[in-house]
């Protein structure tokens, strides 16, 4: 069987997910033998334009990105969003709630019109995608599992559980008992609850579970001393785009 050809692309991102790919592969050299990487700008000069699987890191945040995304969609059999920027808009979408002109002027002053940009979106807002590997950054094991699934000819899938389930299985002390706050109850598991394990509350980088009870969690956050600004800040580190979509669909409170 011919080895599947794989390409990596990045749009607006920190390249941390691609670095995580490099780190994952160094522990699994057998996967490097099972696939052919034809494009990975961060790590290699060779550029192949013939590929079956495209991993896309980063958000779409300027008009010029759309043509490239469409081209990738046409060439690839499977398009996989790699990480929160591609999956959710990630931290890039924080600015979507701010007036764009203000944001650009704040950083670039009266030269703001030199640099084209618009609100940051997940790539699924531009082209249809086949699967997602969530997280900021992606989880190494989940990436390896996803590639193994793809090599077996099936799409990776993620069980619709909240982070709390993994956190309990780890035997962590809930951070709420330590005077901190956490989005674990509404966030999709799969990261092995790594943030609570290292003493921090979850910020929701993997996105929402399918039926998040956001009003109930807001009440809990308020009971733990957060004001409206703090609650909004917590829920907009990674979830700005998803929540704006939910609000538009009138599901949010």
């Amino acid at each position: 069987m011919a080895k599947p050809k794989i390409a990596f692309f990045e749009f607006t991102s920190c390249e941390g997910c691609q670095l995580t790919v490099v780190d994952s592969l160094q522990d699994h050299p057998e996967l490097l033998d099972a696939v052919e990487i034809v494009q990975f700008r961060e790590a290699m000069s060779e550029k192949g334009e013939d590929y079956q699987i495209a991993f896309i890191e980063g958000s779409c945040s300027r008009p010029g990105d759309e043509a490239k995304l469409n081209e990738i969609r046409e060439k690839a059999d499977l398009v996989i969003a790699l990480g929160a920027c591609a999956h959710l808009g990630g931290v890039n979408a924080i600015r979507n709630r701010m007036p764009l002109e203000d944001v650009r002027k704040y950083v670039y002053g009266d030269k703001a019109e030199w640099y084209a940009t618009y609100p940051a979106r997940p790539i699924s807002a531009v082209i249809p995608i086949d699967a997602v590997i969530p997280g900021c950054p992606i989880d190494r094991n989940e990436f390896i599992r996803a590639v193994t699934y793809l090599l077996q000819g099936r799409l990776p899938y993620i069980p619709d559980n909240p982070v709390c389930i993994e956190c309990k299985l780890k035997g962590n002390v809930c951070v709420y008992h330590r005077g901190m706050t956490c989005l674990g109850p509404i966030t999709l598991a799969g990261c092995d609850a790594i943030c609570p394990t290292y003493g921090e509350g979850c910020d929701g980088c993997r996105g929402l579970i399918s039926a998040p009870n956001i009003p109930a969690l807001r009440t809990v956050l308020a009971e733990h001393g957060m004001n409206e600004t703090d609650i909004e800040a917590k829920m907009t580190v990674f979830l700005t785009y998803q929540r704006m979509e939910l609000e538009a669909a009138d599901h949010d409170s």
């Binding site: 920190c14 670095l19 961060e42 790590a43 931290v91 924080i94 704040y106």
Partner: protein, 430 residues
Amino acid sequence: MTVKTVKVDVHHLTRVEGHGNIVVDVQKGELKQCELQIVETPRFFEAMLRGRPYGDSSTITSRICGICAVGHATTSLRATETALGIEPTQQTVLLRKLNFYGEILDSHILHAYMLIAPDFLGVGSVIPLAKSAPDVVLRALRMKKLSGDLCAAICGRHTHPIAMTVGGFTHFPTTEELYSLRARLEAMLTDVTATVELYQTLPIPDFERDTEYIALRKDSEYSFIDGTIASTDGGTWPVSQYRDVTNEYLVPHSSAKHAANQRQSYMVGALARFNVNHDKLHPQARAAADAMGLKPGCTNPYMNTVAQVVEIAHATYDSITLIDKLLERGIQWEEPVAPARLSGEGTGACEVPRGILFHNYVIEEGYVVGANCIIPTGQNLANIEADMRALVPQILDRSREDITLALEMLVRAYDPCISCSTHMLNVAFE
């Protein structure tokens, strides 16, 4: 005398972090255009912090760059702590330094082995090297894995750190983890020696251009976190006066801002640190520099990678010393130090892998009202272009491919981290 018309246009330079183009246009022997264009999407991190609780700053700014995630987080925490009058404990200082070394090692190993060495060995990436020189690749992977594990033991993961917080940490490595890391670092010393030996054999291009070198300096150590801004042209500045040094300005061909201090441009990064602080290096790192022919006062930008190899040696040896100190003290479970006030302005400065990084925040009643981040690659851009302008006339007699490669190698030597600084390369010949 060469009367030549050459256009170099390298679109999206590979093996650098982020997107850049090199554009060089020589008409009849005259240099018309010489630019490193930064085409990375603008990212607006400074604006995103405004209105948020101060505790969010390090979480969000670490996402500026996956390679320098710990560097951004550390600098961000130092800015916030300065603003709010927080003095970190001795244990926090030691753990942060060790964590920082993990990132310096990770980034320098990635650059020296995966991004730079292929140019010298005539291949497009590290992947063919796995077949032709497996021992070299395995060594690089082994060293890189240890650097990542060092960060993971302290802050959860290198990209993006979890347990680092304002005033301290939310998680601590166990004594067993520290012992095991220490043993692995000891074992890595032979790999460090082999890296130095490899770089002794690589033909680093000859090219000299005197410039100003800027780095953080401390009396007590080879500084990576905090210190005073120091220049090889003379002069020191407290980090709070960083704007007097960086003097940022915008140019149309780059979404990253340029910078200039006492000359038209200056250089930051491993070579600048070496030129400013080489007297503070670990003796074994100084010996490595001697072995590779790197001397203070070096003005060859291609030697930046050699200076990184020197820092690989320094960071490895000093990490062992730091672990010994931590083991001797015994790890204490400490609550983060609480802020002394909730309003104030503070600047943090660190020497991240690519050079000096500044974060400046203004905080009012616990919320960020102003933020500014000045990134190393942005500070280097004007200097890279000045090097390109000096280099191109010297190599015009070469083939277009060789000119392109020389320019690509020059830009890569700076280890540009372009996704950071926006907040690449296209070279054309006729």
